[in-house]
């Protein structure tokens, strides 16, 4: 597994005045964010605020229009997704994005190959890669899909697919992990289980997650960033964010959010 390449004191992930426009509309308007290694950060904000876009920028899916993005102190903006992934940043998708015709095990193993040094090898058998295979099984165990190991991914239930989505994201041992609405579409009970799961598998890693379920947000995050219209209007501890009047006005301020948050913090 990759050793965290950060020097002490530097940030795991840093955004400096990042901007992004699509055509004439500017979606991200100078967002800045500094995430410390090992920190768990949740990003919240109204629909269309640019949360997913921000993830897309950080993971290299889109190019930024201006600004800088740094991973462990190294510039990653302008790099391709696979280069960023090789540098230790992994992400999940809001809509499950799996290798549907491969088995669950193969899904995880594919996610491991690069990080375990296999690159484009066509002179080695997968079956002989003992370490890789063992690690893949470990991950399956972790996301509790070991029973479904040899099923094709497309035959999984929704919740299982979400679990696999997260499994693929964390498998490569990246130390910065971005999860986009990991619990969307889950019932309360399942959500609880998932929060637990995410906690376990991201132990010791830097986590950024987007969520609308305040229960998850408050249950998971060390700090919360609030994104409104492409700007980070607050970045603070859960309590402070909850109390922040601007946040209340722009985003929370509803019975639903309050109850969710309260339940989680209780």
């Amino acid at each position: 597994m990759r050793a965290p390449s950060s020097t002490p004191g530097s940030f795991a992930l840093e955004l400096r005045d990042v901007r992004k426009s699509f055509g004439r509309t500017e979606i991200i308007r100078g967002a800045s964010l500094q995430v410390k290694p090992g920190e768990r950060v949740a990003i919240i904000g109204p629909n269309g605020a640019g949360k997913s876009t921000l993830f897309n920028l950080m993971s290299g899916r889109f190019d930024i229009s201006s600004g800088e993005i740094l991973l462990h102190g190294r510039r990653i903006d302008g790099k391709k997704p696979f280069e960023i992934a090789r540098m230790g940043l992994a992400r999940s998708f809001q809509v499950s994005n799996l290798f549907t015709r491969l088995s669950v095990f193969e899904n995880i193993r594919c996610a491991l190959l690069w990080s375990m040094g296999q690159r484009y090898a066509f002179w080695r058998f997968l079956a002989d890669l003992k370490e890789v295979n063992e690690r893949a099984d470990e991950v399956l165990e972790m996301i509790r899909l070991d029973k479904r190991r040899d099923q094709m991914a497309m035959n999984l239930t929704y919740a299982e697919q979400r679990a696999l989505e997260i499994g693929i994201t964390i498998a490569g041992g990246s130390d910065v992990i971005l999860l986009d609405e990991p619990t969307a579409g889950m019932s309360k009970s399942e959500t609880k289980r998932f929060v637990q799961l995410i906690r376990e598998v991201t132990e010791g890693k830097t986590l950024l997650t987007v969520e609308h379920d305040m229960g998850v947000v408050f249950g998971l995050a060390d700090r919360i960033a609030v994104l409104v219209y492409g700007e980070v209007i607050a970045f603070d501890t859960p309590e402070a964010v909850r109390a922040n009047p601007r946040v209340q006005e722009a985003y929370l301020g509803s019975v639903l959010a309050e109850t969710q948050a309260a339940e989680a913090q209780a």
């Binding site: 992994a90 296999q118 484009y120 066509f122 058998f125 029973k147």
Partner: protein, 436 residues
């Protein structure tokens, strides 16, 4: 849970010291390659066997792109064809005094195919999907047209010919007799098939599947989809080139059609017909290709009609190709339920045969009337003689077709019912096993 127990619980990904099934299959394959020419000894049969060996390599190479990597190429003949050209030039050079054993000429073809794949693949694999398909189509047309414009290298439509009986004999093998060429092809065929199978079991092979399934996600787990496609394309070009080199030795003539669109199209069609989703599908496809193009056209003038209809029907009713059909039945068999189906199969087969016989009798008569009417009204058909102008033959065939169709429909319904039941039972069985 500790790693050790895990490894013991899940041995599936380790080669067992004796993976019996695999040994049987590969041993069987080798035996077939070894003994086929002893069973079919006519010179046509041996030519066809040689062509099958060659076709197997190129179809498997093609399927690395189509089946494994989801890349639809309309121009793969470019690589096998250019491989063939360089191989035949090499052969001529050997005749002119170069030192190179003839048995290594296919490797020259392979390297040529690979070289052109490196060159042209660089542009084609920039994109995937339809764009890729269109680039390959364009490149294919370009290379084909070039081949007619540069007779110095391509020899015009007459092509370049050569003599394979050149250079020093190794162990008394001159490659004069077809049988010696066949065994050369068989050896290459076996090695290449094994190599391409092995490739599906490597990290690259697996990532190629991943790229096929979901290219977007691949980029986020550290791989460049383009590099994966490019490397696969190059390897596929290599194997295609080898098959081209073998064909150069086999026919001793290479002309523009080897890089033509019809050839590329045939790869696509027959790989699909064989079954692109399974590794061994293209092997079936290759065998069918040689049969269809060599034998079918000898049996009947209507061969293109039969070919076209077969494609349409296969794609409609068996999109997994023959390999798909085989695997479905193997699955049924592995649950010990194939026995229940054989009466249904018999009925289906019988009715289908009747339709086929009646239908093809009519087609043959129509063709006969149109093309050879003046030779008399008699059409030789499956050992019998039909009178294409008489009422009897027509009424008879129409009757056969109609009853055949009726019976077929009945049999099909029955079969569907049974098939469904069996599938249900199998699902249940699987669920039961899972819960164990």
């Amino acid at each position: 849970m500790s790693r050790n127990t895990l490894a013991e619980n899940r041995p599936a990904y380790h080669f067992k010291p004796w993976n019996v099934g695999r040994w049987i299959i590969w041993g069987g394959f080798a035996l077939v390659l070894l003994f086929a020419p002893l069973l079919w000894t006519s010179s046509l049969a041996q030519t066809m066997l040689s062509q099958m060996g060659i076709a197997i390599i190129v179809c498997l190479a093609y399927n690395m792109l189509l089946g494994q990597g989801g890349m639809l190429s309309f121009g793969h003949a470019v690589y096998s064809g250019l491989g063939a050209y360089l191989a035949i030039h090499a052969l001529n050079k050997i005749g002119g005094g170069w030192w190179l054993p003839v048995s290594l000429v296919p490797v020259v073809g392979g390297l040529a195919g690979m070289g052109f794949a490196i060159l042209l693949g660089y542009v084609s694999t920039k994109k995937a999907g339809t764009t890729f398909a269109m680039i390959t189509l364009g490149l294919g047309e370009l290379v084909f047209s070039m081949s007619l414009m540069l007779p110095e290298f391509f020899g015009g439509e007459g092509g370049i010919s050569s003599n394979r009986v050149v250079g020093e004999k190794v162990w008394g093998i001159s490659f004069g007799p077809q049988i010696q060429v066949y065994y050369l092809i068989a050896v290459y065929c076996f090695i290449c098939t094994a190599a391409m199978f092995a490739l599906t079991r490597t990290p690259l092979g697996r990532m190629l599947n991943a790229v096929r399934d979901n290219p977007e996600r691949v980029e986020f787990i550290g791989y460049s989809t383009r590099h994966v496609r490019y490397i696969a394309f190059i390897l596929s070009g290599f194997f295609a080139g080898i098959s081209g080199g073998l064909s150069a030795i086999n026919t001793e003539i290479v002309n523009a059609e080897v890089v033509g669109a019809a050839r590329s199209g045939a790869y696509l069609l027959f790989v699909f017909l064989g079954g692109a989703t399974f590794f061994f599908g293209p092997i079936i496809g290759a065998v069918l290709m040689v049969f269809a193009l060599v034998l079918l056209s000898e049996w009947t003038q209507a061969w293109q009609l039969y070919l076209g209809l077969t494609f349409v029907l296969m794609v409609m009713y068996a999109p997994g190709g023959f390999a798909g059909l085989i695997m479905m039945n193997l699955r049924v068999a592995s649950f010990g339920k194939l026995g229940k189906l054989w009466t249904a199969y018999l009925a289906l087969g019988g009715a289908g045969l009747a339709v086929l016989v009646g239908f093809s009798a009519m087609i043959e008569m129509v063709f006969h009337l149109q093309l050879n009417a003046a030779l008399g009204a008699e059409v030789p058909f499956m050992g019998a003689t039909l009178n294409a102008l008489g009422k009897d033959a027509w009424v008879g065939s129409v009757f056969v077709v109609l009853t055949g169709l009726g019976l077929f429909e009945v049999a099909r319904r029955q079969f569907n019912l049974q098939w469904g039941e069996i599938q249900e039972e199998i699902e249940k069985e699987i669920k039961r096993r899972e819960t164990l």
